[in-house]
């Protein structure tokens, strides 16, 4: 049975390793660099080279006892278990973990998305018996528009209001680089100004081969010069004192949550951009079908709805309710 290989806290029994543990463990396999998946203080960390590089930048060189880089698609045999990492398409270096034992295949997706994104290695479907899937946007109200539509709205707003600065709130890791890349691909070739918290990770993306164009710190740029410009900052900064340095700023936020207008209103976001690094409802369904999994464990998000849907499809499904992930679309968790 596939469900004997893995415990519900994502503990791989045979090799005593945990996937994305939220407390320090002897052996951890990390799917990607976001804070609710990658923590410091583990003994040994197995992850993709990009994820390891991200962890070192975020937490320091010695944030784990030792690192074991594993490239995508290369099977690693430990005792009678084989671990293989496959691209998850969520952010740079993000991986799904395939665990094989005695002919049974278990996939832990981590966070993932299906849409092409040049800042992340493209998702590959992995057939399995047991799938542990995220469900950040696991409700049928989430039907993400194509990001080019959203970038188009942003650029139109910039053109219509040349006297104002557009401040885009997004996570420093992943979302920021994706938004910048989308802007570049849409032809925006002016400098993009960054909050200090974005600088190191953007530089790391560049180092790892993701070109982002002319990026400049927003600090100390004269106010008048920022009219008609685009600034990228963490969500917490755009409504803080930090934003006062910009001319009559348009508060934008790039997130899958932004499809709910009442949420955007609540967050005082004037221009919500529905740009997500997770699957929407349709993509979650499509992916579950494609893997051929007969058992689905659901975690990270709106587990109930996805579990309910899986059961209507005749699949075995259960929520995992992993501690530390009970969020409500808040900005903290579920990067």
């Amino acid at each position: 049975m596939a469900s004997q290989i893995l415990d519900r806290d994502l503990h791989i029994r045979a090799i005593d390793a945990f996937i994305d543990p939220n407390v320090p463990r002897e052996r951890a396999i990390i799917t990607h660099g976001h804070a609710d998946h990658a923590r410091s203080g583990h003994g040994a960390v197995l992850a993709t080279p990009d994820t390891i590089a991200i962890m070192k930048v975020r937490y320091g060189e010695d944030c784990a006892g030792r690192f074991e880089p594993l490239d995508f698609g290369v099977p690693l045999k430990i005792e009678d278990v084989t671990i293989t990492l496959y691209p998850a398409g969520h952010i740079l270096g993000s991986a799904q973990v395939l665990v094989e034992q005695a002919g049974q295949r278990v996939v832990v997706t981590g966070d993932y998305k299906r849409l092409r994104d040049r800042t992340a290695q493209p998702y590959e479907p992995v057939a399995c018996d047991l799938m542990v899937t995220e469900a950040t946007f696991g409700l049928p109200v989430f039907q993400h528009p194509h990001p080019s539509v959203e970038i188009g709205r942003l650029l139109k707003s910039v053109a219509d209001q040349p006297e104002r600065a557009h401040l885009i709130g997004c996570y420093a890791l992943g979302k920021a680089q994706r938004v910048i890349a989308l802007l570049r691909d849409a032809g925006w070739d002016q400098p993009i100004y960054l909050h200090g918290a974005m600088l190191r990770l953007c530089a790391l993306y560049e180092e790892l081969g993701v070109s982002l164009g002319d990026l400049r710190p927003a600090l100390d740029v004269p106010k008048a010069q920022l009219a008609g410009q685009i600034v990228v900052a963490p969500p917490s900064a755009i409504r803080d004192r930090w934003s006062r340095r910009f001319p009559d700023p348009v508060v934008c936020q790039a997130s899958g949550w932004m499809s709910v207008k009442q949420r955007a209103r609540q967050a005082l976001v004037e221009l919500p951009l529905v740009i997500s690094d997770h699957c929407d409802w349709g993509e979650l369904q499509q992916t579950i079908r494609e893997t051929g999994a007969e058992t689905v464990w659901v975690t990270h998000g709106r587990e109930d709805a996805l579990v309910y849907w899986c059961r209507t499809q005749g699949l075995q499904a259960e929520p995992l309710n992993i501690q530390g992930f009970e969020d409500d679309g808040g900005e903290g968790a579920g990067e």
Binding site: L139, P140, V141, F142, Q143, P145, S259, V260, K261, Q262, R263, A264, R265, Q266, L268, V269, E270, L271, P272, R302, D304, A305, Y308, W309, T312, E326, D328, G329, G330
Partner: protein, 525 residues
């Protein structure tokens, strides 16, 4: 429709009032009749459809979407219209929707049995933003932070006509306001409205601040009346026609034939709608029962007859007396009553008082002995001014009763608060258990709401859909106006106007009130 949808979105998301106003003004200036008139009707809540209702939309969606998934989604999103717009699973070629005018025409002329098909087709055809606007239009619940007043202010900015003048003609106008716009554009005279036969916006009071205000006010300049615990109404006796309006201008005459069929004379009167026999006001609960029915039942008419306690007069016959001062209006009102004997109207008495201390004593006594809500204080020289002018009318409510109760259940709010647990059921001790006595929305700062929300999530015992049962450990100080016996509550007590005045993080639940404590309040009202 695209233009209107863009306007709605901008209004919903722009926090700046100035920018909202600019967008509205621009819209009214650029969009032709009758579209702009229909948009105005939507924004001011003047448009209702006979058959297009939230329930019909929901039913249409449930033909396409699993009911359980819909319920989970609604719980998450917190706004029915937005849930429908987001969850609709079919997307066509995103062609243009019909114009606002044509849509409204379609909603009004399509037969009830064909409406689900029409709505499904429109939802499929619409782009995401138009779909959102379409559902807002159809459900009538905009929730975009735009008041009717703001829309009228935009009309004023567009035309240079004073907003007060627009208010004056407003309630005599008909959708889509062609004569209004013609007047505002300078192409026609001011619409001719029979002023004595329509609704006039009410004059409202400000709460008094005992410490700040009373010392500055001379009691000899003011008249006092009881504050009645009914609903504010305007009775328009138009000579042949009788209309009864709620404070927002809704005609509630069909629910109160006992009044409408038994009043005489010609006037526009301002007063309190109450129920009870022989002009003795019953409980607000009895009134609520009658308000809930669109048409009164024979049983209600017999057991809870309605009457109006009149306290002001806007029109005497056809004469507009709103510019007269209160003293003169009161004299006219008393003379009118003498000339037109009534069986369903009586006069609200004017309370003589020596000074503020004397009135304070009467207020307390009235609350304790008769359950009066408080007193109204009116400047004798004040004209009748619609809106809430400063310095004319004051309400001086009696001090609220206060009880320490324990939080039992929390429910997610709607709209802006949909991600917060902002709706609370609380209870008091009955022996060893806690029984619910009331429910109230959150009334604190955003900071406190966040803390409370966090506490609730961390102390959940179990969840039932949007409701969480929490550990019975957190004490609220609950203020309320009165307590009544109730068979609907397990505790046997129901609170009137409960609101949470403080969170008592410091107080252990064991020190919260008991049911016996509550019974003292029931006795006093």
């Amino acid at each position: 429709m695209k233009r209107f949808a863009q306007l709605l979105e901008l209004l919903a998301l722009t926090p700046s009032r100035t920018r909202k106003l600019t967008a509205l003004t621009q819209y009214f200036r650029e969009v032709p009749d009758p579209d702009r008139g229909y948009a105005l009707a939507v924004l001011t809540g003047a448009l209702t459809f006979r058959n297009v209702k939230p329930a019909l939309l929901k039913e249409t969606v449930l033909r396409e979407v699993d009911e359980t998934l819909f319920a989970m989604s609604y719980d998450y999103v917190g706004d029915l219209g937005e849930t429908i717009a987001l969850i609709w699973p079919h997307h066509g070629a995103e062609g243009d929707l019909p114009s606002l005018t044509d849509l409204i025409e379609l909603f009004n002329t399509t037969s009830k049995s064909d409406l689900p098909k029409l709505i499904a087709a429109l939802l499929t055809q619409a782009g995401i933003n138009e779909r959102w606007a379409l559902v807002k239009l159809a459900t009538g619940a905009l929730r975009i932070g735009v008041s009717a007043r703001l829309a009228k202010t935009a009309l004023s900015e567009m035309s240079g006509v004073d907003v007060q003048e627009i208010e004056e003609v407003w309630h005599g106008l008909k959708v889509p306001y062609l004569d209004l716009f013609a007047w505002l554009d300078g192409k026609a005279p001011r619409p001719d409205i029979d002023q004595s036969a329509r609704f006039h916006p009410l004059m409202l009071s400000n709460p008094i601040d005992e410490e700040k205000d009373l010392g500055k006010l001379d009691p000899r300049d003011f008249a006092a009346e009881w504050k009645w615990d009914g609903i504010r109404v305007q009775l328009v006796l138009g000579g042949g026609t009788v209309s009864l309006f709620s404070r927002t201008g809704d005609d509630i005459a069909p629910a109160f034939p006992d009044i409408v069929d038994n009043v005489h004379g010609r006037a526009v009167l301002d007063g309190e709608l109450l129920v009870g026999k022989d002009f003795e006001p019953g409980s607000f609960n009895d009134l609520q029962q009658r308000l809930n029915k669109k048409v009164a039942s024979a049983k209600h008419l017999k057991e809870s007859p309605a009457f109006i306690r009149v306290y002001d007069m806007l029109f005497d016959g056809r004469e507009d007396i709103r510019t007269l001062d209160w003293t003169a209006r009161r004299a006219r009102l008393e003379a009118w009553f003498a000339a037109n004997p009534q069986t369903r109207l009586d006069l609200s008495e004017v309370l003589p008082f020596a000074d503020w201390d004397d009135l304070a004593r009467q207020r307390r006594q009235g609350a304790d002995e008769h359950g009066h809500e408080g007193v109204m204080i009116k400047l004798r020289t004040s004209p009748y001014v619609p809106g809430r002018p400063k310095g004319y009318w004051f309400k001086w409510k009696r001090d609220p009763n206060v009880v320490d109760a324990v939080l039992m259940y929390a429910q997610r709010g709607h709209g802006k608060r949909s991600s917060f647990y902002s709706d609370y059921t609380f209870g008091v001790w009955k022996g060893n258990e806690i029984v619910p006595v009331g429910k109230a929305y959150f009334g604190f700062t955003d900071e406190e709401l966040k803390l409370l929300d966090k506490w609730i999530r961390a102390n959940t015992l179990q969840a039932f859909g949007p409701v969480r049962e929490v550990r019975k450990e957190l004490v609220f100080e609950v203020a309320f106006d009165s307590a009544q016996e109730s068979t609907r509550h397990k505790s046997g007590v129901a609170l009137r106007f409960p609101r949470i005045s403080r969170i008592r993080w410091d107080k252990p639940a064991s020190e919260a009130a008991t049911l016996e404590d509550m019974m003292v309040f029931v006795g006093s009202t």
